[in-house]
């Protein structure tokens, strides 16, 4: 079974739209409404995601905190993170948290799929 993608965004409509786009493109998708839920998903799912698509500004636990805590666990450290932010300094944020890349909201379907394909972890042999 191929590794899923994890979409973390507090806006339900947006998260579902993202999941839909990614499923249409053939991915398995998991969703989380904030950083804490995302950590819970990592803990409970048997297969680790190939990529985390991460919003920054979220209630309960924001993107930056989630990124830090994820990196503290050896098994999770190498999961690629694609920062997906509405902030003008998305690139800076991505660099600071050691994300593989960033996408600035709003974004086109094509750009989103291209970025996800480029940065997700390769399937294990």
């Amino acid at each position: 079974m191929s590794r899923p993608l994890l979409v973390v965004d507090d806006d339900t409509d947006l998260r579902e739209a993202l999941e839909e786009v990614l499923r249409d493109a053939g991915y398995t998708v998991l969703g989380a409404g904030n950083g804490l839920q995302a950590l819970e998903v990592l803990r409970t799912e048997s297969i680790l995601p190939a990529l985390v698509l991460l919003d920054m500004m979220m209630p309960v636990m924001d993107g930056a905190t989630f990124g830090r805590q994820m990196r503290e666990v050896d098994a999770w450290r190498d999961i690629p993170v694609l920062v997906f932010s509405a902030s003008a300094n998305a690139r800076q944020v991505a660099e600071e948290m050691g994300a593989c890349s960033y996408l600035r909201k709003p974004v086109d379907v094509e750009t989103l799929l291209k970025a996800v394909a480029a940065h997700k972890a390769p399937e294990a042999a």
């Binding site: 806006d11 409509d13 947006l14 739209a17 993202l18 839909e20 786009v21 249409d24 500004m57 509405a86 902030s87 003008a88 300094n89 690139r91 800076q92 600035r104 909201k105 709003p106 974004v107 086109d108 379907v109 094509e110 989103l112």
Partner: protein
């Protein structure tokens, strides 16, 4: 009758009376004091300010030379005239060399009147000049302090030190308390540590009564300067509170000047200064205090405005961050949903009508996105430069991407988009900003040149990369080629062509932030040509 303060060094009461009579005859009204010992002289000099000293040459235990030495040691600028029954030419020369202004025999008293007149006048001019010098010096130092980058408290503290002891014995700033509204002592210069502590304590114990009929609070209320040449001669006490009055008297005030610190909206505080003991303040001191207060008020006001502006900018930036998040999130959802629907309708070969409608919606959502970005950028730009995040990329590839994005819109406008052959043009720029700038030029060309081809030429010119967008539309009148790059600037009526008038403005600001330029020229023939020029080498500013 001209009044003046005369100090007579004379052991003979008769001679003293003679001098006074002679002076009265000459039209003077001297307030005279006679001393006949060096101790009495020393005490008289310390206690009061004198306009003239008349001195007998030889007294029982000292001579006029001793008097001159004492005057000199005391540092007071008081002219001395020596009167004598017998005076050799040699003695006269010695006296003049020692600093006597004049000397003549007591039997030639007729000379006294003109000599006094001359000395008083010369002293007055000399003192005025010296005083003007002091004022100039104090104000120059004050200006230096006021423009120095100091904390406000340190600045006021040094300002009051300037006035003491040269102009006054003590000097203080009271500022309006922003929270409680009353006046608070914020800086004080006073030679006596104990009295200084007393004054600070007094400010704590007796906050200035806003309704008082005199003093700093009164000046703050009325805005009128207050000058009490001599507190001891005031018919009424400064306050009706007996304990407070005793406390004030404990300060030993003599002359007091209170002047308001003017601000744009009302007064910011009060500059207060005064003397202790025998020294008195004059209208000249009042004028100096007013000038110092005026300059200080100006600087404090500017500091306050700067603080307010900084706070406003902070709030604005905070708002922009939130607004950006709030606006971009639904736009993202809309764009993704429409994109999915479009893909599916194409895949399932739905009616062409549905596809067209979805395409139209996608275009409008994208346009909404551009408008939102433009507005956010403009409000951010109103307080400074665009911040750049440079990265290395191929400009021709970026232009091709932008053109690709505009295909649907170009079709709708009936324009053919043509790009010059691509050879690769690499440089280090902010990808997002350049993308926005190119998009603004294309969007502009499609809007004003519908139905005609739009040519985009990317090339190299000296040390610059150049993107030229040529349309065949309505063109730009020569007198409008600059205006259209202004914020909200447009060459045509907003009734005939929509848009916020921000695209070209932002394009130019983006080019300038890179160290480049953006401009328009009415092309030969019809239409217009817009150029975006970006430096190729490392002139890109962070």
């Amino acid at each position: 009758m001209t009044p003046f303060r005369l100090l007579l060094v004379e052991d003979s009461v008769n001679d003293a009376a003679l001098v006074t009579a002679e002076l009265e005859q000459a039209g003077y009204l001297p307030t005279a004091r006679r001393v006949d010992s060096l101790e009495a002289l020393r005490e008289a000099l310390a206690a009061e300010a004198w306009d003239l000293v008349l001195c007998d040459y030889r007294l029982p235990r000292f001579t006029a030379l001793d008097v001159l030495a004492l005057l000199h040691a005391h540092g007071q600028d008081v002219p001395l005239i020596v009167l004598s029954s017998q005076l050799s030419e040699e003695q006269a020369v010695t006296l003049m060399k020692a600093g006597a202004r004049d000397c003549f025999s007591k039997d030639r008293m007729a000379r006294l009147g003109p000599a006094v007149a001359r000395e008083l006048e010369e002293t007055r001019v000399r003192r005025e000049r010296a005083r003007a010098e002091v004022d100039r010096d104090i104000l120059a130092r004050a200006s230096e302090l006021l423009t120095a980058s100091l904390e406000q408290a340190a600045r006021l503290d040094q300002l009051v030190q300037l006035m003491v002891p040269r102009v006054a014995d003590w000097c203080a700033f009271f500022l309006q308390d922003p929270d409680q509204g009353g006046l608070r002592l914020v800086a004080l210069a006073h030679p006596d540590a104990e009295r200084r502590a007393h004054a600070w304590k007094l400010d704590q114990r007796f906050p200035l009564d806003p309704q008082s009929a005199a003093g700093p609070a009164h000046v703050l209320r009325t805005g009128q300067p207050e000058f009490m040449p001599d507190v001891r001669k005031r018919p009424e006490p400064i306050t009706r509170d007996a304990a407070h009055q005793r406390a004030i008297e404990g300060l030993g005030l003599r002359s007091v000047v209170n002047v308001p610190l003017p601000g744009n909206e009302g007064r910011l505080g009060v500059l207060s200064m005064g003397t202790l003991g025998e020294r008195l303040l004059s209208p000249v001191d009042l004028a100096l205090a007013q000038e110092l207060a005026r300059r200080t008020g100006l600087v404090l006001e500017n500091a306050r405005l700067f603080q307010e502006a900084r706070e406003a900018v902070r709030l604005r930036d905070e708002f922009l961050t939130v607004a950006a998040h709030e606006l971009r999130t639904p736009l993202t959802t809309l764009r993704l949903q429409l994109g999915t629907l479009l893909q599916r309708s194409e895949a399932h070969h739905l009616e062409p009508d549905v596809v067209t409608r979805l395409e139209r919606s996608v275009r409008q959502v994208r346009r909404l996105g551009t408008l939102v970005e433009g507005l956010l950028d403009v409000s951010q730009l109103s307080s400074g430069e665009l911040s750049l995040m440079p990265e290395r990329f191929d400009l021709e590839e970026l232009v091709a991407e932008v053109l690709e994005r505009f295909q649907a819109e170009a079709r709708a406008a009936g324009c053919e988009l043509r790009q010059s052959p691509r050879r690769g043009l690499w440089g280090t720029w902010d990808r997002l900003r350049v993308d926005q700038a190119v998009a603004a030029l294309i969007s502009n060309a499609l809007k004003f040149g519908p139905g005609r081809p739009v040519e985009v030429d990317v090339g190299r010119q000296g040390g610059f990369a150049r993107i030229q967008v040529r349309d065949r539309g309505i063109g730009v009148p020569v007198d409008q080629v600059e205006r259209i790059f202004e914020r909200f600037g447009r060459a045509v009526s907003s009734h005939s062509y929509g848009g916020l008038g921000l695209g070209l403005y932002l394009a130019r600001r983006a080019a300038e932030a890179h160290g480049g330029r953006a401009w328009a020229e009415p092309a030969t023939g019809e239409g217009a040509r817009f150029t975006l020029e970006l430096p190729l080498e490392k002139e890109t500013r962070e």
